[in-house]
């Protein structure tokens, strides 16, 4: 066994050595720390595809003098997986910039990234606990509170007053709960009832029965992963005919393609694929459609932006002639703040989130349409 162990370690060292050399030599090492297996792996897929497209665009445009070396780590969507993966990206692969997602992973990776001075960028959902996690931790997406706030006027306009809320009992879900509890009365509505569910729950027929019994005007759900589709399907199957509402997590393909999602309304940052005027967005949408034969989702946009952010920052550093490392990337971000992204101009806030224009979308025939 001892032999095997030594073997593993030497193999590890042998494979890693050129990587370290290369990091000092030509390419910039950029890491991804997504769940690539397990129940949340769909997201890892989504995120990676988006990063890939941005990567191709950066290469095609010759935005950077040196090539980018993308390194993937499976975070397993657990804190431990996040810590191990982050440590490997930071100290073995020598990444200066890491894109990640998921609350547990982010929180476990943040101290390690901060210690190694690696820029970390999240494009998944943002609860208040991920805003301001570390100076090196940034979100290319607004705080979820912003999303709820953007929805309130629309609810009033449609006179949807009594809202039932199904939420995962985590910081993000609780933040939605708090925002609705506070915001609904101001918008002339009320919370009819709330149901917290564990992230692993798969059966929602009973929740549906309870929702039906409170007779709400609309049902808001704040969940993620496969659970979202299960909630939608089972609510509809069990006779919930009311308007369904959610935040930007509703934009993943498995939700879009679900027949029961017809009419679902979700908020997101501005992402009007059909009428976008700016070249960055137009090109993103055109190439995405050509490559994947479908419309991009919010997550595609976010992680495309995350990858693009690296190129923009590194470009600045190359111009100034300073080395591209986490420290300098961060300094540049704090200096510039304002960037051109897919979806429009975005400004980074002091709390580590991105201020972007918001919009309201509705799913129709398997596609998202901007309705407000």
């Amino acid at each position: 066994m001892l032999q095997r162990r030594t073997f593993l370690l030497t193999t590890a060292a042998g494979l890693a050595a050129p990587a370290v050399l290369r990091a000092q030599g030509s390419p910039y090492v950029v890491g991804t720390l997504f769940p690539m297996s397990g129940p949340n792996a769909e997201y890892g897929m989504l995120f990676t595809n988006a990063v890939q497209l941005a990567f191709e665009h950066i290469k095609a445009d010759g935005m950077l003098k040196r090539p980018i070396d993308l390194r993937a780590q499976d975070s397993l969507a657990t804190p431990q997986g996040g810590a191990v993966g982050m440590q490997k990206l930071a100290s073995v692969d020598g990444a200066s910039y890491v894109m990640l997602g998921f609350t547990g992973v982010s929180k476990a990776a943040a101290p390690i990234g901060t210690r190694s001075k690696v820029m970390m960028v999240n494009g998944g959902g943002v609860g208040p606990d991920l805003a301001g996690l570390s100076p090196y931790f940034w979100n290319v997406i607004p705080l979820v509170n912003q999303e709820v706030k953007a929805l309130l006027p629309w609810l009033r306009q449609k006179s949807l007053k009594r809202i039932a809320l199904i939420y995962v009992d985590d910081p993000l879900g609780n933040s939605v709960l708090e925002q609705l509890r506070k915001g609904l009365p101001e918008a002339g509505g009320e919370l009819a009832d709330t149901y917290s569910v564990p992230p692993t729950a798969q059966q929602f027929a009973a929740v549906a029965a309870k929702v039906r019994s409170v007779n709400a005007d609309a049902v808001y759900f704040a969940s993620y992963g496969a659970q979202q589709s299960q909630i939608i399907k089972q609510l509809r199957d069990n006779g919930i005919k009311q308007q369904l509402l959610t935040y930007s997590a509703g934009s993943i393909p498995s939700v879009l393609s679900l027949p029961e999602s017809e009419g679902l309304v979700y908020t997101s940052q501005a992402a009007d694929w059909s009428s976008a005027q700016d070249p960055v967005t137009q090109r993103f949408v055109k190439d995405w459609r050509a490559k994947h034969n479908s419309d991009p989702s919010i997550y595609h946009q976010n992680y495309y932006n995350a990858m693009r952010l690296f190129a923009l920052l590194a470009q600045e550093l190359e111009k100034a002639g300073t080395p591209v490392n986490g420290e300098n990337l961060l300094a540049t971000l704090l200096k510039v703040r304002h960037f051109t992204f897919v979806g429009g101009e975005g400004t980074f806030q002091d709390n580590g989130t991105l201020e972007l224009p918001m919009q309201i979308n509705q799913i129709h025939d398997g596609r998202a349409q901007k309705i407000a």
Partner: protein
């Protein structure tokens, strides 16, 4: 009315649990193997059905494919995993770890083949209608109940009336009886795995149309089957089926009284309570200490 509604949806969930758990109990009863990869059979059956319906094949072809895959997997586990292990030292936990490893393998293969997202087979049967004001039922409810009852009767008849069935029951209770009957325990254990795995098919197909599939579903199914088999009294088919039904009902009904958060844990509270206060389960014999 809410109570009645919850009870009914509990029965639908429970019917699916019951069949799956009965398969687990059948295998355990006859072979004393804790077939943890039972959930993997379930996942495979569900995805086979999904693949067929995506190819536009009629539903019964899908069911047949699911049946073949589930039974094939069960038999393969018996022949290539469990039997080699039991030939050596084969402690209970060795089998457990190996079966769990295979569950991971199946899950990764499904991820590689079908992607990692949530998938569902569309069916008009799943849409609930108000049968009386405030009480909603989908046609699938009757399908689930009908299938569960019919299959359960068939399996019971098989176990009680046929030579092979009696042999299966004897396998756990009195192995010496087998020799008297002239039956091979190897063949019988294959039969148990085949039949037990076949029992996941209705549950898998129904789940594919109702709550949908995802690669990690195997673990969930395994937990429920295991819990039901224990609550029912290990090895008792009748007990496992009834306990499966009970767990489904409890999981749903509990929402009427406590926070929804506790729904999926409720089944395990029942499990824990049973082990503490009635360890022999609903129908088990007293536990040998």
């Amino acid at each position: 009315m809410l109570f009645l509604q919850l009870l009914l949806s509990g029965i639908q969930t429970g019917a699916i649990y019951a069949l799956t758990a009965a398969g687990f109990a059948l295998i355990f009863g006859a072979t004393r193997i804790f077939h943890v990869a039972h959930g993997a059979s379930f996942a495979l059956a569900g995805y086979a059905f999904l693949a067929c319906s995506q190819m536009g094949l009629p539903w019964f072809v899908g069911c047949l494919a699911a049946l073949l895959l589930a039974v094939g997997f069960g038999l393969a586990m018996d022949a290539f995993i469990y039997r080699p292990i039991q030939r050596h030292e084969g402690s209970f936990f060795t089998v457990f770890v190996a079966a769990f490893g295979m569950t991971i393998v199946v899950q990764s293969l499904i991820e590689l083949g079908f992607g990692r997202g949530f998938v569902v087979v569309d069916s008009p049967l799943t849409m609930a209608r108000a049968i009386v004001p405030g009480l909603y039922l989908a046609d699938i409810f009757w399908v689930a109940i009908g299938l569960a009852v019919a299959l359960f009767v068939l399996v019971t008849l098989f176990l009680e009336r046929t030579r092979a069935g009696i042999g299966l029951r004897a396998l756990s209770e009195n192995p010496e009886l087998l020799r008297a009957y002239g039956l091979s325990s190897r063949r019988l254990s294959a039969l148990a795995f085949g039949l037990g795995s076949a029992l996941v098919v209705p549950g898998a197909v129904l789940t594919a149309t109702t709550s949908g599939l995802q690669p990690a579903i195997a673990a969930q199914v395994m937990l429920i089957s295991l819990a039901a088999a224990v609550v029912g009294g290990i090895g008792s088919l009748r007990g496992a089926a009834l306990a499966g039904l009970l767990l489904g009902v409890v999981e749903n009904l509990v929402i009427a009284f406590v926070d929804t958060q506790w729904s999926s844990a409720a089944g395990f509270v029942v499990l824990f309570a049973f082990i503490l206060f009635r360890p022999s389960g609903l129908f088990g014999q007293a536990v040998a200490r």
